[in-house]
Symmetry: C2
Subunit: 121 residues, 2 copies
Amino acid sequence: MPAGKKRTDWRRSPCPIACSLDIFGDRWTLLIVRDLMLGRTRFRDFSASPEGIPTNILADRLERLLQHNVVEQIPAADGTKRLAYRLTEKGNALRPVLKAMRDWGLAWDKSTRVMLSPKSV
Amino acid sequence: MPAGKKRTDWRRSPCPIACSLDIFGDRWTLLIVRDLMLGRTRFRDFSASPEGIPTNILADRLERLLQHNVVEQIPAADGTKRLAYRLTEKGNALRPVLKAMRDWGLAWDKSTRVMLSPKSV
DNA sequence: ATTATTACTTGTTAATTGCAAGTAAATTAG
DNA sequence: CTAATTTACTTGCAATTAACAAGTAATAAT
């Protein structure tokens, strides 16, 4: 199977948690969503995040998020012909998930800290 | 590196979300946590869940959850010498994360449905 | 026109996953 | 008590996925 073309037409169970995990159950996807919530919009922005996501994984995850209508492409804000990404309504609805995870991390891992900008996750 | 002994002494960033994902950022771990929240306590219970987690993955994830103090072992309730698992306070604190994920799944994937028991996630 | 940046893709190696089978200890059946 | 069964894993292995490095085509800047 070609890279980034993982099948999404099959589910392990009707459980909403299991189905959610089939979309973003990995170590990278929600970091991209986090970045989008922080106002980052472009490939290079996600690539520049401190966790250092490999570019092939980033491309793969963006494709998956597009296919699941969690993100969409828009013209870049700088007037160039390049594209940017933004969260759809479905993607924005992940905010409580990210918030709960952030709260849990902050509460139970004292070495973590928020390093967040305006739109606060 | 031996199975189940993934290094946990290093973090990608101080972000609480990234650190949370280093613990449960995969397709299976939160399903075990879900099962624990539903009152399931033993290896065979997790193994019997509809998603069908492979036993080697299950053993690996339980070990990881133990090391991160998300779950702990207790004597089995049936009086035998076998062990069971239960969530620690830290593990129980994941309830809002699971709830947010369940709500999101239910809201945006119409083919999902809750199939939950008493303690409702 | 030349150089640099962007947004990826490709190749290669390392690690992880999933399936099947195996195992040792504990429990149950006879 | 002995034998069969169940439990809670472990092991082997093929297949998938991840990580790192390098490459590339299309803009964009100088």
